[in-house]
Amino acid sequence: MATRRILGIETSCDETSAAVLRLEDGRPILDSLVILSQDVHRIFGGVVPELASREHLRTIGPVVDRALAEAGIGATQLDGIAVTAGPGLVGALLVGLMYGKGLAYGLGRPLIGIHHHEGHLFAPTLEDPRLAPPFVALLVSGGHTLLLDVEAWGRYRLLGQTQDDAAGEAFDKVGTLLGLSYPAGAAIERLAATGTPGRFTFPRPMLKQGWHFSFSGLKTAVLRAVRASDDLERDRADIARDFQDAAIDVLVEKTARATLELGRDTAVLAGGVACNRALAQALSARLGSAARVATASPRLNTDNAAMIAAAGAWRLGLGERSEFTLEPFDSGPLPGLLRD
């Protein structure tokens, strides 16, 4: 039985993460996943890049060591290193990337740089090994909102993307307006669950137009509602509810329409916003028996190294290798992205 072990490293934003993925005859088994979140950014209401970079450097060694220890292996038992190369905060990426390069060079093992978005697409496969393309994927996080037709691994057709704020960014900004701490996604979901729907009517931007997204108008409408409120304590939950409903309506409508029009039998929700249970429930309800919804557990939907290891295992399995000259990047298309 052929066994390969891939170390994943992810430092694209404010999580320092490492994971060991074991492949038994190609079947992925997650042996360990360590995620260390940086709390300091809550104070600033958003990620401070220089602080994030410093914290990554402080924690990358212990995080990798713990991932290896939890997997019960030493570094020499690794068969490859997969590390996020971008997109993300370049200073933060640099720490993980240089650490990954150093490990790969020191161990004499192959290195593969992974596009962060591709990692998110692979995340659900760690819990649902049967999941395979083709499927439609909605990748929603604090930095990205992408609607993709995943024709095959490595063949990604961009259907739509946000024209302004990312969905998660809108959740965080609305959270700030409502006095919630950063990051606000989970807090908005909890608050919305206690709110009464329909008290506020927020716009559903571009709901029926194409497959692109826009969230800045929605965010502005919430700002106006907050400013107009004479008792924000009374209105907070209802505003959260109607904001979430509006955002989910747009995300669900476009994802469902793409899934149905393209005849895919699966819709994948990926990224931090995919942790929102109301989103998955609404998409399942909208698709009915026409397609199933696949999404990872919250630990694998937020930024993590397991998804990087999974994407890395696939690319290393194809024989791909990154050079030690690999550099981080703050933005850039998915490898294999197709545009019509």
């Binding site: 940086q38 104070i43 401070v48 602080l51 402080r58 720490v95 240089m98 390069k101 060079y105 030690f324």
Partner: protein
């Protein structure tokens, strides 16, 4: 001893290596351009080791310049060294201030007192003074610190190493009337760092590499503003962890 030195704190990236024994051998590489550090560091290390006819598992010592300097450059070097040593635990790591590295590479005569001054931006300087007697010893007379030009009057050095705005360098040169090393010759180079390995008063051994981080010289700007506004240390940062 097979030693490797890595300098990533300025626009010039450099790597040097030395194999002791017999006549000894050294190799060095350098590259200009701050944005090229991440891409070039491992290949330069590989070139140096290849020229020396050795490989990483045989290396006994790695020295790193630990700032102050480019925040990004510091992290490129530090994260790489942490990982290299993670794969070969026998490697000892030591660190020297970037200012000491500049002093060591300035060609100072034996026993010279060297004042090193570099720009810290915002009208401030990093300054340090060393008594340099290589290859025997280095003595830190005044450790690196943030300084103003006015605060440098106290002691007249034998040699001034300055990498700062032109007007300021000229003012200091007029003030001290001593030999001046400036421009490219003042940059910290890995070869000079190599000369500080295992030298009393030179590069300092790092016992707990995981806990070690470079000397940034300044807190992050957001942290500084927050602390100034709140009159206390930012929670969850090293200054608050004691």
């Amino acid at each position: 001893m097979i030693a490797l030195a890595i300098e990533t704190t300025t626009d010039r990236l450099s790597v040097a290596g030395r194999v002791d024994g017999g006549e000894g051998r050294t190799a060095a590489r350098a590259l200009d351009g701050a944005r090229r550090h991440a891409a070039a560091l491992i290949p330069l290390i590989d070139e140096v080791l290849s020229e020396l006819g050795t490989t990483l598992p045989a290396v006994t010592d790695i020295a790193i310049a630990d700032g102050p300097g480019s925040f990004t450059g510091l992290r490129v070097g530090a994260s790489t060294v942490k990982a290299l040593v993670r794969t070969h635990r026998q490697i000892r790591v030591s660190a020297a201030s970037t200012l000491m590295v500049r002093a060591a590479g300035a060609g100072a005569p034996h026993g010279a007192v060297v004042l090193v001054v570099t720009s810290a931006l915002r009208g401030e300087l990093y300054a340090a003074t060393y008594l340099v007697d290589l290859p025997n010893t280095v003595t830190t007379i005044k450790a690196p610190t943030l300084a103003t030009p006015e605060s440098l009057h106290a002691q007249r050095p034998d040699l001034l190493v300055a990498d700062a705005p032109e007007k300021l360098v000229e003012r200091l040169a007029d003030q001290f009337q001593v030999p001046l090393v400036r421009g490219a010759a003042s940059l910290p180079m890995a070869k000079a760092l190599l000369s500080l390995v295992a030298v009393p008063g030179g590069a300092v051994p790092i016992e707990e590499l995981d806990d070690w981080e470079p000397s940034y010289g300044r807190p992050a700007e957001a942290q500084a503003k927050w602390e100034a506004a709140h009159g206390r240390a930012l929670p969850d940062t090293p200054s608050d962890r004691g």
